[in-house]
């Protein structure tokens, strides 16, 4: 397998007066799957299209392997791409679609056919090789698109929200399969998504983007447990926003001292606390009241109102729900894990 590393450095791209990319730096190790995560409009698609050669950067470097490919046209970059919109050629069958890239590479028809069938089998759609795109469901079409993008052994695989048009169940199933296939073929992959759960589930590393720049990049666990900035903490996972006061390297929230991520000026601040770092116990003398309970299977979320009307969400095992019906007086305890604070 000829998988290459990728280095994007200081990429800039302006549309009118919108800075779609504002100095983006991103490295992908060979064989790695990096998810680029961020809210809509933060420049994810632009970054991916620049890497694919479908868009030009105003400035910056794009290095694949050890070559600067900024001046290589899209059709010579050898990158497999799966789009958000359905992109199969409507006049070709599934297997002909997969053969398309191989045909351009002048492979003989028997080699081509065999390879295309292998790829369709790999994505679990070998039985539908002779169907036209209109005869396939959305999920099946994206599988064929994946097979087509991988068939010619691209140096890099690019996926731009390939699952966002699919319904929830297919989405989860297909993302697991994308990961399985990616590990099997070992292709360096950039996966763009605005869905944080998807990014955390699939990636070796997650890069969180904001306004054309990379805000933080790290393993899914790092991103979730030790978000570097309030933006990341709020964008990835649920967070309670609790008023507190910073002194030195701790923040005092609800009478508990929590260690800080990063350094902040002393004074009032808002701490972002994960629901799973909040514990709630029934206590007739407690200051909080349970106002809502939602059951999520093995886990449950309990919303507690404090005397100052702040709402705190706690995540608990469902087994503990019977002791916490709505209206119960409770005590709220925070686990001493590091938290991010935003000023004010």
């Amino acid at each position: 397998m000829t998988s290459s590393g990728v280095r994007l450095s200081a990429l800039r791209r302006k549309f009118g007066n919108v800075h779609a990319l504002d100095g983006l730096d991103l490295d992908l190790a060979p064989g790695e799957l990096v998810a680029l995560l961020g809210p809509s409009g933060c420049g994810k698609t632009t970054a991916l299209r620049i890497l694919a050669g479908l868009e030009d950067a105003d400035s910056g470097r794009i290095i694949v392997g050890d070559r600067d490919i900024a001046n290589v046209p899209a059709n010579k970059r050898g990158m497999g791409m799966v789009f958000q919109a359905y992109s199969l050629f409507p006049h070709l069958t599934a297997i002909e679609n997969v053969e398309f890239g191989l045909r351009l590479r002048k492979q003989s028809s028997t080699v081509r056919r065999r390879r295309a069938q292998e790829m369709l089998d790999l994505v679990g759609i070998g039985a539908h090789a002779a169907r036209f795109p209109q005869q396939l469901s959305g999920g099946q079409q994206q599988r064929v698109a994946l097979a087509r993008a991988l068939a010619f052994e691209p140096s890099v695989l690019l996926l731009d929200e390939p699952l966002s048009a699919l319904d929830a169940k297919v989405r989860v199933q297909l993302r697991e399969e994308i990961r399985r296939i990616q590990l099997e073929v070992g292709t360096t992959t950039l996966f763009v998504t605005h869905d944080q759960e998807e990014a955390l589930a699939i990636a070796d590393r997650v890069g969180v983007m904001r306004a054309g720049q990379l805000e933080q990049i790290g393993s899914p666990e790092d991103i979730y447990r030790t978000p570097a900035t309030p933006f990341v903490a709020e964008f990835v996972g649920l967070s309670n926003r609790l008023a507190g006061r910073v002194t030195g390297d701790v923040v005092e929230v609800l009478d508990t001292k929590l260690p800080l991520v990063g350094s902040v000026q002393d004074g009032p601040a808002t701490a972002l606390v994960r629901p799973e770092s909040v514990d709630v116990t029934a206590d007739p003398a407690g200051a909080g009241r349970v106002v809502a309970v939602s059951f999520l299977g093995p886990l449950a979320r309990v919303t507690v109102a404090l005397p100052d009307d702040t709402l705190v969400v706690a995540q608990l095992e469902s087994a503990r729900l019977p002791e916490l019906p709505t209206g119960t007086a409770v005590r709220v305890v925070l686990r001493p894990v590091p938290v991010v604070v935003s000023a004010g």
Binding site: H91, L104, Q134
Partner: protein, 267 residues
């Protein structure tokens, strides 16, 4: 309730038949009359019409006009498609803001009367004559302009039915040059639109009289007109043949469109 609806459906169906019959009578009657006229004194006219050697000797004007029209059809269709298809695709992919402008420009010929067009074309053709000679076939340049509105509409509609941008980007990322994108991806998916653009151009070129006549060129319609003065039956026979050919083309056109739809649904 149900009875009412049924009665209404029946009434609508009756109305539909009346309209279709009326239309058929009104269009077919002149054709039948033309046919009757050409065969009133036997089948000689048609015998000569299908014996091209005799036709050329007996009616040299007609033969010249038919030959000119044949080349005009071929060249106009070729030039229209070669100019229009890549341009419209390119505008869609790269210059979406120019789409309105291109649409406006391509619809202009429709709004200008042929007489006025001739006034503008005359000096242009003075140059054409200077550079490539005065052959009637050079009319294809003017006819391409005339065909532009119809061909543009047709091709643009065909492109609207597919996601050209995504398809061509997919093809690019798979390694296609722009020529391959056009040939292997865009064209196969707008085949019926291109066909209908071609048919419309053919019908237009076969029926054009004003410009050819005013610029003193010979095409089939000009020949028919001149022949009408000396040999009425042959001129009517040729008109009839041209009309039938146009009908057949338009019929093929709707057939091509229908077949494409069925393919989309079932295969």
């Amino acid at each position: 309730m149900a009875g009412l609806r049924q009665r209404r459906v029946r009434r609508q169906r009756a109305l539909r038949w009346i309209v279709v019959t009326l239309f058929a009578v009104l269009t077919l009657l002149p054709l039948v009359a033309m046919f009757e006229f050409t065969t009133r004194d036997g089948w000689d006219t048609w015998r000569v019409f299908f014996d091209w050697k005799a036709l050329g000797e007996t009616y040299p004007i007609l033969w010249t006009g038919m030959k000119a029209s044949f080349w005009l059809v071929l060249l106009s269709v070729a030039l229209t498609l070669v100019l229009l298809v890549p341009t419209v695709v390119w505008v869609r992919l790269r210059l979406p803001r120019l789409r309105r402008v291109v649409e406006f420009v391509s619809l202009l010929p429709l709004t200008i009367p042929a007489i006025v067009l001739v006034v503008g074309l005359a000096p242009v053709y003075a140059w054409v004559v200077y550079f490539v000679g005065g052959s009637s076939v050079t009319l294809f340049l003017a006819y391409t302009v005339l065909a532009l509105p119809f061909a543009y509409r047709s091709i643009d509609a065909g492109l609207s039915a597919i996601d050209v941008r995504t398809l061509s980007e997919a093809a690019r990322s798979l390694g296609s040059s722009w020529a391959t994108v056009m040939w292997r991806v865009v064209l196969p998916n707008i085949r019926s639109a291109v066909l209908s653009a071609a048919f419309l151009t053919v019908a237009l070129v076969l029926g054009e009289f004003t410009i050819a006549s005013l610029l003193n060129r010979a095409n089939i319609q000009v020949a028919i007109n001149q022949l009408g003065k000396s040999s009425a039956t042959m001129s009517v026979a040729v008109s009839l043949a041209a009309l039938v050919l146009a009908f057949v083309l338009l019929f093929l056109l709707s057939f091509a469109g229908r077949r494409r739809n069925r393919e989309r649904k079932t295969s």
